[in-house]
Structure formats: structure tokens, C-alpha cells
Symmetry: C2
Subunit: 238 residues, 2 copies
């Protein structure tokens, strides 16, 4: 793989660019204090995230009609509120809580690394997050994207191949001119299967100190980077 | 209309943000010199632009299948090359010429005005240009968008209502939370008919010194601005 063959980098967002876990826990604790809720917000954050793959799977199999991540996050949230015995939230409170996903904080290296990568490549999101969520998050986090691409534009969720192929078509590029950047091997495997190049970035505390998944890249990835600064060093030059 | 009700501004691009005419003439003349072509590039630029509405109309009526603006620009270009008796261009030359639409220069006030508007609003393209074209143009011109929205995402061309409604859905907003910004009354009329607010910006030399269309806004628009700086003064504050 020669970096000069690559025109665009597409980025996974939840976990790769943003630290969903810390943000959810912090915002949960703040809400808990305000509303005097006795909730383990670490457990709550993990449960919310854990509901995500099965919810997308229900869309993928047709058990649910197409709906975007805001809607899926809300479905999962409503279940969790029952399960964690939280009954004092108004509809407005619930909507505000659901929007926490629009306000995720980036990993400390994300903004500067992206800015350097943007000097050489088109940088785009390629997330299961919906367009509004990704747009609001970028604004909140001060992330500068050249283009917001989302599973929502394909009406398919990653790792369905349609997501990557739609992104390539919208960018007017061949898959091999694009590199998918993610902390998740499944995402990279799917991108690679339709012809994308791939970069694995270590996010070994995405799920906290006891993470067991995606601790190492699959051997098939083209580039392995400690973080976005290291990725920029490798792809743009130190 | 109260600016505090508005969350996002969506911008027409060709003519409103970018000066297609000057760029096409300049690049045409450069190519003409290189290739020793005897062509009136002012006439050529106007003819290329004039082919745009009828080409979209053929897509709209189903005479042509869905195709994006890159493809329509190329169809028109191939006709023009025959009509202007230009036969010495290679396929690579033609493709490079067709990509001039990805390299349009912004009007002098566009970048600074947008930057100020972006402090307060989500700013997004909403153009008949395809996503790749808009992404490359923004990079070329140093324009910072929060989100690239395009007719391509609706598989309809403006002024079809689907374009505006798709944009609102992707932004997660109601039409009345969005203001369409354009130098063209037809675009604003269509946006208004589905509930958008509207801002007319004067671009009275888009078609050169003898322009006859869109010299004044329709009475129905909410905001009238001399340029993007004036728009920022009115919507964000001087």
C-alpha cells in the first residue's frame, strides 16, 4: 500500500474518534445528581452501547423498518430506563439524554491528528451514526470533516457492504483510493472486502480498563497506528 | 421571522457561493492557449451553464435515468466540444476540463461570511452539485461546511421538493428551522413552499455585466442581503 494511491480517509466514529464511554458516564452522573437517581452509570453506559449491535441487527434482518441511530438509541434507552428503574424523567429529559450521542468528546489526539491528515487527504466520517448526529458532534467537538458520510445515506448499517460502496460512489472514488480508519477489526474487515485500504488505530480503553476486544489488529490491515498523531506521522510524514 | 428560530442555513452553491462564470472563462482560456484553440470562452462558459437546466429537466421527466451533475456536465460538454469544433482534446483532457466545476472560486465575501455564520448556525451546502464535487470544491476554495448536502442524496434535482425535505430530514430539523440562502428566486420559492425560511443574496453579475435575471428578490423572502458579510451582520450581528 502506497499512501500516494489514497485520496480519502473514512473514519469510524464511536470509539475510534470519540470516547463514548467517558462522555456517557459523566453526563449520566450529572443527570443522576440533578434528579437524585441511584444508578450505576458505568453499567448504564455499557448497557446502552451493548444494545446497539442487536438493534442494528433487527434493522438488518427486516424485523424493524429502516430507522436511524437516533431512533435506535431511543428504543434502547426506553428499555434501559425501565430496567434501571428510572421513572422520573420527562419526555424532554429523555430526548436530551438521548442526544448525549451528539455531544461525545473526541479522544485527545483526534482533533490535531485529523487536522494534519486533512492537509493531504479528504477526511470523512463513515459511521453508523446519522448525519445530524455526526454534524452536531463535529460542531461540539471542533472536528473538521470535509464531508459527513453515514450509513443513513445507504439505508444499511456497517458492516453491510452497501455502506462502504455508497461512500465510495458519493466521493467519486474507487474503493482502493479510500482508506477506512477504525479501532474495530470487524469494520476494517468489511471495508477491505469491498476493496478499501484499512488502518487500525488502538483504542484499548474504549470499553474501560478491562476491555477484551480489538486489543490488536488483524494481520490483514495495511496500517497500524497508536493514535491519530501516529497515523498522521505515517501517512503524511512526521 | 426571528433568527433565533433558525438552526441551520443551507446554501445554493453555483452562483450563490461560487463564481462559476469567471472560473470557467479563466480555465477555458488557459486550456485554449495550451492547445491552440480558437474559442470564445465567454460564450462557451455560458453555453455550458445554459445546458444545465435542460439536462436536469431530462432527468426530472425520466427521459434520462438518475445521474449526477458530473455526468450531466460531461454530457453537455461533449455536445459543446462538437458545437465549438474542438476535436483535439484527449479523454484525460476532457475529464480534467469537466472537473473545472470542482474547482470553482468563491465570491470574495463567501469564506469570511460563512465563517461568521458558522459560529451561530449549522451551515450546509444544498446544491444540485454532487457530493464529490461539493467536497472537492470546499477543499479547493477553503470553505468550511458543517455538512455537505446535495440533490444527489435525494435522487431529485432542485427545485423538486424532495431535495429540501431530504435535507431537513438528514439535519434532523423541521423545515421552519432551516433557512435556504440563494441568489435565485426559483430556488427560494421552492424551499419556501415546503416550509423553509429564505434569504436572497444579490449576485447581479453571476451571468456577467448584462445579467437580466434574479436582479431583485421576490417579495416573499424573509431576508435580503447584499452579500454574505451583510447576511452575517443581519443574522449574527454586526
Amino acid at each position: 500500500m502506497n499512501p500516494s494511491d489514497i485520496e480519502a480517509l473514512t473514519f469510524d466514529i464511536f470509539g475510534t474518534v470519540t470516547d463514548w464511554r467517558s462522555t456517557l458516564i459523566r453526563e449520566g452522573r450529572r443527570l443522576g445528581k440533578q434528579k437524585a437517581l441511584d444508578v450505576d452509570w458505568i453499567e448504564f453506559a455499557h448497557a446502552w452501547r451493548a444494545g446497539y449491535a442487536p438493534a442494528m441487527q433487527r434493522v438488518r434482518t427486516g424485523a424493524l423498518p429502516w430507522m436511524n441511530i437516533d431512533a435506535l438509541h431511543r428504543l434502547i434507552l426506553d428499555d434501559l430506563l425501565a430496567r434501571f428503574d428510572i421513572s422520573s424523567l420527562s419526555e424532554a429529559d429523555k430526548e436530551a439524554l438521548n442526544r448525549v450521542w451528539h455531544r461525545l468528546d473526541p479522544w485527545p489526539d483526534a482533533r490535531d491528528g485529523l487536522e494534519r491528515l486533512r492537509q493531504r487527504f479528504i477526511v470523512a466520517t463513515l459511521s453508523n451514526g446519522n448525519v445530524a448526529l455526526l454534524t452536531n458532534m463535529a460542531k461540539h467537538a471542533g472536528l473538521r470533516w470535509d464531508c459527513i458520510l453515514s450509513s443513513e445515506l445507504a439505508h444499511h448499517y456497517k458492516p453491510d457492504p452497501e455502506v462502504y460502496l455508497t461512500a465510495a460512489a458519493l466521493l467519486g472514488l474507487q474503493p482502493e483510493q479510500i482508506m477506512m480508519v477504525a479501532a474495530h477489526n470487524e469494520d476494517l474487515r468489511a471495508a477491505r472486502s469491498v476493496g478499501f485500504h484499512t488502518a487500525f488505530v488502538y483504542r484499548t480503553e474504549e470499553y474501560g480498563p478491562n476491555q477484551t476486544t480489538d486489543l490488536e489488529p488483524a494481520p490483514s490491515v495495511d496500517v497500524v497506528a497508536r493514535d491519530f498523531i501516529d497515523l498522521a506521522d505515517q501517512l503524511v510524514g512526521a
